[in-house]
């Protein structure tokens, strides 16, 4: 008689589920509950006071919150797309280099070795209007005699933040796409060349479809991980000045700790989580499609 055993996939998934339940799910339930209370850190008793949807009602009528929401979506869209295009370009350039692959790949991953908080300090300093590297360089080269207020003007600050974000995260795309390029079988490309395809055609119809799943994995992972940008923005502008660069995470963090209004902050966080889920689900679907495509082709 065969002893009853758990199906292997359940055994294999068990450790992951346990760890994630302990570190993510249980805290999330806690914070979901607290989003229905007026919980303030400095008044612990307030967690037992139930106020229904009042925090959520306030959020939904708060124009500042929705502006921050919109700005977050815009930042994500621009940054992720830029990172993908640049990452693809970098990967292709590195792949065709015949020497120094190891060094090149290490350099490619260089920005990933910078803690986001460090990236924040570094770019804040570089974009300082008075003694920053960027303005100094522009002035020394005679391109401008103005002190460009990089972190003050809404648009410029948005650009500065996007640059910092793109600098720190393009690597993720580049390295994934590079991994895809290297895993790619040679024959289809040879075959395409023999069939008289141009380089562009080969790329478009052979290489890129194969790379799509890799690009989308990177995209999805980045969209999951994008709240990392919080550290950068927090240091560079902390949402300022006058709320011109406020994104969801800076708003949440300030409400939560500086104002100590944790209940309200958790309500905001849930809206932010929904946003992340929407982005992730979108990429996930596209990843599925791309995978099916590759499976059909190869």
């Amino acid at each position: 008689m065969k002893a009853w055993r758990l199906p292997p996939h359940i055994v294999l998934l068990m450790p992951a589920v346990i760890v994630l339940a302990a570190v993510v799910l249980i805290p999330l339930v806690l914070s979901l509950y607290s989003s229905f209370t007026p919980f303030r850190l400095t008044r612990p008793d307030s967690i037992y006071q139930f106020i229904g949807f009042r925090n959520y009602e306030r959020i939904f009528t708060d124009a500042d919150f929705w502006i921050a929401f919109g700005r977050t979506v815009l930042l994500l869209t621009i940054a992720l797309n830029l990172e993908m295009v640049l990452g693809l370009g970098l990967a292709l350039l590195v792949e065709r280099a015949s020497r120094g692959q190891r060094l090149l790949r290490t350099i490619l991953m260089f920005p990933m070795m910078f803690s986001p908080i460090l990236v924040g300090f570094q770019f804040k300093f570089m974009f300082n209007d008075n003694v920053g590297l960027v303005n100094n360089a522009l002035q020394s080269l005679g391109l401008t005699d103005q002190a460009i207020p990089w972190l003050i003007d809404g648009t410029l600050a948005f650009i500065a933040i996007t640059i910092a974000e793109v600098w720190s995260s393009t690597s993720v795309f580049a390295i994934f796409i590079l991994a895809g390029l290297m895993a790619m079988p040679r024959e289809p490309i040879e075959a395409a060349r023999v069939d008289g395809c141009t380089a562009w055609q080969t790329f478009k119809y052979v290489t890129w479809p194969f790379l799509m799943p890799f690009a989308f994995i990177a995209m999805t992972i980045r969209s999951l991980d994008v709240a990392r940008a919080y550290d950068i923005i927090k240091i560079m502008t902390d949402g300022g000045p006058a709320g011109r660069t406020e994104v969801l995470w800076t708003l949440i963090a300030r409400t939560a700790y500086s104002d100590a209004r944790m209940g309200m902050a958790n309500a905001m966080a849930y809206v932010a989580i929904l946003l992340s889920i929407a982005f992730t689900a979108l990429f996930f679907r596209q990843l599925g499609k791309a995978r099916a495509q590759v499976a059909a082709d190869w």
């Binding site: 570190v23 805290p27 914070s31 070795m113 460090l118 991980d225 939560a256 992340s276 995978r291």
Partner: protein
């Protein structure tokens, strides 16, 4: 015919040069902020802050590094303890999350079960929770069970942070390994376990290596959770230590740059070392269907 050939050869060479130049430029842009940090860690603040700017350094010294390792009051910070904490936490959590990720990734790549897509998405979405939303409730929980300011607590948190990530990556790479290879091995008399280690694992090694690099770098650099869950030199990590150089009114920019260099070097060395596995894995096992 000859002429056309030569023309196309010249054109090819020109494109080659242009692309190499472009690559060089891109690499410079990537490196620039890093080099700037190294440079600033070696020169006095007055030169960093100078206006008009000082482009070519006039005096270089290792003062900031010497100070970092000095005692309290001479500009020292407990960098050795921070380094040790960071190392223990990052390495352990990377190993654990790789193990869990391999088992999870294998389950998704090789077995069929109900609601598979839902499970997968569910696991992934745990990563979508911003650290800032997680930090306080997690602190509550940790305070209850006494995990605040411990290595174990940080390792657990980072493992959770990295699992979705490693499962995803490793799943992707296992998918690229054709199923029939392992099946063939099983027909040859291997158990499933042996087939995994001897056939599928080596082929998925590049995926595991890159998942490992990612997990390590994320743990090594994480700040939001660490700033909430660590408190003293018992568990404070290097990114949290960076803030030792900020006071209420001041930032010691040179000191911070020096610590940043100390932080980046191990990550750089490790990445460089693991590259080899990534490469050999890729070249030895060209993936074919």
């Amino acid at each position: 015919m000859m002429d056309a050939n030569r023309k196309s050869r010249i054109r090819k060479r020109l494109t080659d040069w242009a692309l190499t130049g472009l690559l060089f430029l891109a690499m410079c842009i990537i490196c620039l902020p890093g080099l700037w940090i190294v440079l600033n860690s070696l020169r006095p603040t007055v030169e960093i802050m100078a206006k008009p700017p000082v482009w070519i350094p006039r005096e270089l010294s290792f003062d900031a590094y010497v100070a970092m390792f000095s005692g309290v009051g001479q500009g020292g910070i407990p960098v050795v303890q921070y380094f040790r904490n960071s190392m223990i936490i990052a390495v352990t959590s990377t190993i654990i999350s790789l193990a869990i990720g391999m088992s999870g990734g294998y389950a998704f790549a090789r077995y069929r079960f109900r609601f598979k897509g839902g499970w997968f998405l569910g696991l992934m979405l745990t990563r979508a929770v911003p650290g800032i939303a997680l930090s306080l409730p997690l602190f509550f929980l940790y305070a209850r069970v006494g995990l605040i300011d411990t290595h174990a607590g940080m390792i657990l948190a980072y493992t959770a942070l990295n699992i979705p990530f490693t499962i995803w990556l490793i799943d992707g790479f296992f998918r690229q390994v054709p199923k029939d290879l392992a099946e063939a091995a099983q027909i040859d008399g291997c158990t499933r376990w042996q087939a995994f280690w001897q056939v599928e694992f080596p082929l998925a090694r590049p995926g595991i290596a890159s998942a490992g690099i990612f997990a390590f770098l994320i743990s090594w650099n994480e700040f939001a959770l660490a700033s909430q869950l660590t408190r003293s030199t018992d568990s404070k990590t290097l990114p949290v230590g960076l803030l030792d150089y900020t006071a209420e009114f001041t930032i010691d920019w040179r000191g911070m740059c020096a610590l940043a260099v100390v932080m980046i070097i191990p990550a750089l060395l490790l990445t460089y070392a693991v590259q080899k596995h990534l490469v050999s894995g890729l070249t030895s096992g060209a993936i074919k269907g």
